[in-house]
Symmetry: C2
Subunit: 354 residues, 2 copies
């Protein structure tokens, strides 16, 4: 293999501008103590020669790497990719993360890590030692994994925990799961629904619990019971079928259901259809995630939109701020979710007989 070297290095620039390496370095890093005319002269040489600093060299000499590592769960991500169901979590992360990184001259590197592995730490260490990122973004279910969190804390690398509300090491950034479930429930209550079923997500994800909490709070505040209205799922279509079946075949079936993700909402739609129930006439339905498929179902689904791009963008900002030595915000950072209203919810008055 040819030994590939940097074509233009700081040395060339220094020689061209007739200054020392250090001055060039100062200009690159926008440091003070450089006279404007000097700075201009150096910048001219940089432009002329097309010089770009090597992050390898920058990192090696103890400076920043300008790399932000975004870590996702390996199994789940690969499964989503292979299933080709249009889950666009990764795309939205890249959208929010890469653009914000680019604004600051950083780069986002996307990595997969296996949660279930007994050597998570080795995997993490591999990525960290090899890449030396300036910051790390953790996503569910990693964000609340104590093993991962404590390991990262030891490494002294700033990290954000997306989808977490726990304080502790790292900076938690929440997508307000409790609040959005509450909001979705309210949306139904306002339209006259009283028996509102809820299909929860995998208990491996802390956010699953918060969504249940939000629903329960809204129900309780409205003076309504929750008994028999909660069914457990695990985010899979199959679990959605089972959960929906349980809810819809009970003695007093709910007039509305909130599913903790789109796949389970899809399953609910299918179960309803098989039972001869028409959505939204006989059953109102709200889903979580708002992935592209909700446009194409019959009817299109009203859904809670997770602000993934905005959250990732925020995470990058927090990381870059931390890297500059600014303290993490004391308050939990929250990106509010919103409900996209489509056609799967009807007022209860429109129920059978109306």
């Amino acid at each position: 293999m040819a030994r590939r070297r940097q074509a233009v290095t700081i040395k060339h620039v220094a020689a061209d501008a007739g200054v020392s390496l250090q001055t060039v370095s100062r200009v690159i890093n926008n440091e003070p103590n450089v006279r404007p005319e000097m700075k201009e002269r150096v910048q001219a040489s940089i432009d002329k020669l097309g010089y770009v600093p090597s992050i390898a060299a920058q990192r090696l000499s103890g400076s920043r790497s300008y790399l932000i590592l975004a870590i996702n769960d390996r199994d789940r991500t690969i499964a989503d990719w292979q299933a080709r169901q249009g889950t666009d979590w990764v795309d939205q992360m890249l959208l929010g993360g890469m653009l914000k990184c680019a604004e600051h001259g950083y780069r986002m590197i996307f990595e997969l890590v296996d949660t279930h592995s007994d050597h998570v730490e080795r995997e993490l260490l591999g990525a960290i030692a090899a890449l030396q990122p300036d910051g790390i973004i953790l996503t569910p279910p990693h964000s609340d994994n104590p093993q991962i969190v404590s390991f990262l804390a030891e490494q002294k690398i700033p990290f954000v925990r997306i989808g977490s509300i726990q304080n502790g090491a790292g900076i938690p950034v929440s997508m307000d799961d409790e609040g959005s479930a509450y909001q979705a429930t309210e949306h139904l209550l306002e339209r006259g629904h009283r028996r509102i079923g809820f299909i929860s997500g995998s208990s491996e994800y802390a956010l699953s619990g918060w969504r249940v909490d939000g629903w329960r709070r809204a129900m309780t505040e409205a003076g309504l019971p929750c008994d028999g209205l909660l069914a457990e799922g695990d985010f899979s279509f199959a679990s959605g079928v089972e959960a929906a079946g349980k809810l819809l075949s009970g003695p007093q079936r709910p007039s509305a259901i909130i599913a903790s993700n789109d796949q389970m909402a899809l399953a609910t739609l299918e179960v309803a259809r098989l039972m001869g129930l028409t959505v939204p006439r006989d059953l109102s339905l709200i889903s979580f995630d708002n992935t592209p498929l909700v446009h194409f179902t019959q009817p299109p689904l009203t859904a809670v939109d997770q602000p993934i791009a905005a959250t990732t963008s925020r995470a990058v900002e927090l990381l870059i701020a931390a890297q500059k030595g600014q303290p993490a915000p004391k308050e939990l950072t929250v990106e509010r979710a919103s409900i996209f209203v489509r056609e799967s919810v009807a007022p209860l008055a429109d129920a059978p007989g109306a």
Copy 2:
């Protein structure tokens, strides 16, 4: 900012194993001239200390960076992400690319580059000089951009051009656009269709032309005329509406249409519906890309599946081989596309009156 240093370096390992740095380096890189027992001893220290080489240091000292850069068109990619229509091109690239990279101890870095920019070269140089990747993957429409290709050739970095059939600098890897369009046309011909319309994609993409070529070849071989059966689109829904309108409102409307991507197929579906035509009874439809949405249309679309993951995986293999000094294959590398048969195609016998 704290000056973060590598926790465990090659020095620590060398000291622990009681050997020279050099020997450790040889073990890491699997080089010859190390006695098995020596190798074992060093490996034991590596495992014990949890040592991982720093790519920054490796790269800086003239070795590999273990980084593969995958470059996509900025505008189009961002537009796809924002549109949230479930286009999973990026996901499939990551799926194929990241997994193959991981197999070989490489990492894939995903980058966006603006083709239309007058300083493409600066953008590319920025990424290359900063990251020093061992290989680059180009995707359409970059793959045949002479400016980009010649610039990369100068840099002496191995690169693959996905979706290209031209020889020249870099290694072309084709998804057989001509062949799959031919195949799709055949699929319809076999079912009795004679007037088969074709909606082309943006002429900015060379593959658009090849798809037209494939369709034309199949028609010609079957002794059928193509006149008035080709409509130009640009991959957008709007252009699909226009193209489908043109094809379907002519004097002799086609009994089948092939659209060069899913969005235009969706548009065709909509136009047909508005004209009172039922798919597939009155019009058969085949689309390209097979993005997730084709499952959800009414009816689900028969579609040509682009083997994006397989192609990216292959691209990574070729790059790693090139990096090892192996010559690029003399023949054009082709990953065959396949047709996913769903419900949007009917034999012509089933046409009106059947």
